[in-house]
């Protein structure tokens, strides 16, 4: 296997451009055969291409975004006037619970993962993620979680205890029936999916970067996703445990007492576990968005980013500090006063790394020649709105203010400013920016500007009045209010803003629909950007790059000259092989064969999804599910390892003639 001692394992040759072009055509043909996507419906279920899985995540997440948006719209209609009877209290409870749950678990996290699963492998210059089949399994697990939530909602047994489902309200005494159980199993499924994607992202970035992309040359978006992935790994187990223990408390024949005060249990334990996940979750949504911003600003400012190292350190610092803030969601509970002071301090401390990022972005724009295309406009909108959300965040982090406005519409306004401003605005920017890479066509600029303008105005109309309503004492999660409260005008204003936002979203849909077919065609690098995803055609071929390349700087497409930056050749054209490189310096290390397309991930997700659904009704589903999952896993392992192609002795593909 290894070559004889002392002989170098790689060699460097100089190749004339004519030969390179010939070699590239030859590689294109051969690689297309090895990496081509399988056909038909079964093939669709088996497809492990990271780009297709990424797009599926994004599209599915946007479908959930649309559904949850419709629920929000219905809630705004209900609250538009006092004493409205459009939605009754029970339906309203289901609507806000499913809305919040969807936005957090079925939209915000998966859409960010989908973007990363598409772009991270391209940006580090490899052919696919590290474990393509696990990746496919992750998508189906997410889909199964979404179907659980909406299946139960469609049967009018939707979750109704809020997106954080606090016991005792969600416990067996106050929430009989199966509503909360569907919620908690949905959590398990979607968190499995998030964890799978996190492992994929870290392993791909750690081991599959192109030669030369040392840690200090990784694109900032990729850094942001690595930090996010580590946060997912340490945060998501907490919510799985919280919802799992809740499900055990609720399940007949199990009936543990974790959250039952009569038997020594503690409802605050649930809140601690939930927010130990829940606060990092905010940053799990926000950090990918800052990655978009750090990636987009240099392109549209036409200069390399200002302060690469402080930006990376800020991301990492934010990731750490985010785990020390969770109690600020619990200021209205009897946690020790000293603890509250500590968490107030930590909450204010996290403004430091975020401030550093903000200043680096402003400095980049300041020192460049900004081109105000739609993606940059969304980023500027983000800076404005997130600033307001950050300011109310600092207010809420102080105990006295929090005690005043806790569980009022002030909090609703705050977190919509943070989440929509901090995540959805950059996400739209990223979509306008990368749409040409997905489809080969631009989204329409003029429709994009209308989309932004209406969304921006509609957003502020909807959510700004909520600050005031909260200070006037309107609590969140009330299905109606009486006319004497005097809240009618501001509520009507908020509801009219929702209409404007709805129109903006329709414009966006129309833009995507139209531009996919008739948009202006884009070349491989239409924005003249600097990162590797633009070094391959739009849309990229199934294998991403015919010849891998090396990088010698942070902005390879701007700075590296072809005469000195080597290409990489010699990966197999007979099987799906990728190059692994060393963790720190990205020296070529060894070659690694990726798994073929397969139906087993789908079947495993099916078995796991069915057993978690069964677990809502009887504990026997657990051992049964384990048994079936093991069977599927045996077949996965066995069939996956049998050689499919004639295993030729591994002939080296000559670099060039």
């Amino acid at each position: 296997m290894n070559s004889t001692a002392n002989e170098p394992l790689t060699d460097l040759t100089l190749v004339a451009p004519a030969h390179l072009a010939k070699r590239e055509t030859e590689l294109d043909q051969k690689l297309e055969k090895v990496w081509q996507r399988p056909n038909g419906i079964v093939g669709w279920l088996c497809n492990t291409n990271h780009k297709d899985i990424g797009i599926r995540y994004v599209v599915t997440a946007f479908v959930f975004f649309g559904l949850a948006g419709l629920l929000a719209f219905a809630m705004r209609l209900q609250l538009a006037v006092p004493d409205n009877t459009l939605l009754g209290p029970d339906r309203y409870n289901q609507f806000f619970t499913v809305h919040g749950t969807t936005m957090m678990f079925l939209f915000a996290v998966p859409v960010m993962e989908g973007m990363a699963l598409y772009f991270v492998p391209l940006m580090v210059g490899t052919r696919n993620v590290a474990f393509p089949r696990m990746n496919l399994f992750g998508y189906y697990a997410f889909l199964a979680g979404g179907l659980m939530l909406y299946g139960s909602f469609a049967l009018n047994i939707g979750a109704d205890a809020g997106w954080f489902a606090y016991p005792p309200l969600s416990g067996p005494d106050f929430a009989p029936g199966k509503r909360v159980d569907f919620w908690s199993q949905m959590i398990t499924m979607t968190e499995i999916s998030a964890l799978v994607a996190a492992v994929e992202i870290i392993c791909t970035v750690f081991k599959q970067r192109v030669p030369g992309m040392s840690l200090n040359r990784i694109p900032l978006y990729v850094w942001a996703m690595v930090v996010t992935a580590f946060m997912i790994i340490f945060a998501m187990p907490a919510v799985m445990m919280a919802s799992g223990l809740l499900a055990m408390d609720r399940l007949t024949n199990v009936t543990t007492h974790f959250f039952n005060p009569a038997e020594g249990g503690d409802v605050l334990l649930y809140q601690h576990l939930f927010w130990f996940f829940g606060h990092p979750e905010v940053y799990i949504i926000f950090i990918p968005a800052t990655g978009f911003v750090s990636n987009l600003i240099p392109v549209f400012a036409r200069r390399p980013v200002f302060g690469y190292t402080p930006l990376v350190l800020s991301l990492i610092a934010t990731g750490f500090i985010a785990f020390g803030l969770w109690v600020h969601h619990m200021f209205a509970t009897p946690v020790p006063e000293l603890g509250k002071s500590f968490f107030t301090g930590a909450s204010i401390m996290i403004a430091i790394p975020n401030g550093v990022q903000m200043f680096c972005w402003i400095a980049t724009l300041w020192g460049g020649k900004p081109q105000f295309k739609t993606p940059l406009i969304w980023v500027l909108g983000f800076i404005f709105i997130f600033m307001i959300g950050g300011l109310t965040g600092v207010m809420l982090a102080s105990v006295p203010i929090d005690r005043q406005v806790h569980d009022t519409f002030f909090v609703v306004a705050h977190f919509h400013y943070v989440l929509i401003g901090g995540a959805v605005f950059p996400l739209f920017g990223a979509i306008y920016y990368w749409f040409p890479k997905w489809t080969g066509r631009f989204l329409s600029e003029s429709l994009g500007r209308w989309h932004f303008a209406l969304f921006f105005v509609g957003f502020n109309l909807t959510f700004f009045p909520m600050h005031i309503l909260g200070m006037h004492g309107m609590t969140r999660r009330v299905y109606t209010y009486s006319a004497e409260t005097g809240w009618g005008t501001l509520n009507l204003l908020a509801s009219s803003g929702a209409v404007v936002m709805g129109v903006a979203m329709l414009l966006f849909l129309a833009n995507v629909w139209k531009s996919r077919r008739t948009g202006e065609t884009a070349g491989s690098n239409p924005w003249n950007a600097s990162t590797l995803e633009w070094a391959t055609p739009s849309p990229p071929p199934s294998y991403n790059f015919a010849q891998l390349r090396t990088v010698g700087s942070r902005d390879p497409l701007w700075i590296d000259s072809p005469e000195t930056t080597a290409l990489v050749d010699g990966l197999s054209t007979e099987k799906r092989e990728v190059l692994t490189t060393t963790l720190l310096d990205a020296h070529p290390d060894h070659k690694y064969e990726l798994a073929e397309d397969s139906i087993w991930p789908f079947l495993l997700a099916l078995v796991v999804g069915l057993s978690f659904t069964g677990l809502i009704f009887h504990p026997i589903a657990f051992p049964l599910g384990m048994g079936f999952a093991y069977l599927v896993f045996i077949l996965w392992f066995w069939r996956g390892n049998e050689p499919k192609r004639a295993s030729l002795p591994h002939v080296s593909e000559g670099a060039a003639s």
Binding site: L20, I202, H257, L567, L571, P588, A655
Partner: protein, 220 residues
């Protein structure tokens, strides 16, 4: 700003002679396994945190056992069988270390024997563990204390079952198809998983069985 194409020759690195696998931390799957263990360790750490959190709610820890026919004032978990199983679990690392080292040196015969031993150890351990629940001296649905120690013990048993099932599958493959580079790597990655199962139980065992003995709460 894109450098214009030029007619000058371009350097090309040929990686064809690089090895087609790595048996250690250079392999992506080794990292995948490590990250899985981060996830699992976080989960157990949170369970231990939950254990100590509910402890604050009791005047006597462990809480007196009044639901069973034999009322116990201080029902600390019994040590006898659990200590034996801890010893067996620790010993089970030996065949795994053997398999690990043999895989590194590609000694297929030794790997097969060591893996068979590891599977046998796993089976014995699982059998003991199912009996071990009654040594906790409570039912899972008695109170919050019993719930959390049953959950910790049960989740560790679950990992033991998964690890053994994985070893069984891999061993069967080795006997039927022999050991190539890829499966030598799988043996080594599986060994890391097993070391973790052994190591984490030392901590969890200490919390469940010795915690209430060394630091009992409340006055008798």
């Amino acid at each position: 700003m894109t450098p214009s194409p030029s007619s000058a020759p371009r350097p090309v690195i040929n990686v064809a002679r690089l090895p087609a696998s790595a048996l250690d931390h250079r392999s992506p799957i080794w990292w995948g396994n490590l990250l899985l263990l981060f996830i699992e360790t976080t989960m157990f750490a949170l369970m231990v945190a939950a254990y100590f959190y509910v402890r604050q709610n009791y005047n006597l820890w462990p809480p007196p056992q009044v639901n069973s026919p034999f009322a116990l004032l201080r029902p600390v978990p019994t040590l006898s069988l659990p200590l034996i199983s801890l010893a067996v679990l620790t010993l089970s690392a030996a065949p795994m270390i053997w398999a690990d080292r043999a895989a590194l040196h590609r000694r297929e015969g030794a790997v097969k024997i060591a893996m068979t031993l590891a599977v046998i150890f796993g089976g014995v351990l699982i059998a003991i563990r199912f009996r071990e629940f009654r040594y906790l001296n409570c039912r899972w649905d008695d109170h919050a204390y019993s719930g959390i120690i049953w959950t910790i013990t049960g989740m560790h048993l679950l990992h033991l079952i998964v690890g053994t099932a994985e070893n069984l599958l891999l061993t069967a493959w080795l006997y039927l198809h022999g050991m190539d580079e890829k499966h030598a790597r799988d043996v080594r990655v599986g060994a890391v998983y097993w070391y973790w199962i052994v190591g984490i139980w030392w901590i969890l065992f200490g919390v469940i069985f010795y915690g209430p003995r060394l630091w009992p709460q409340g006055q008798l």
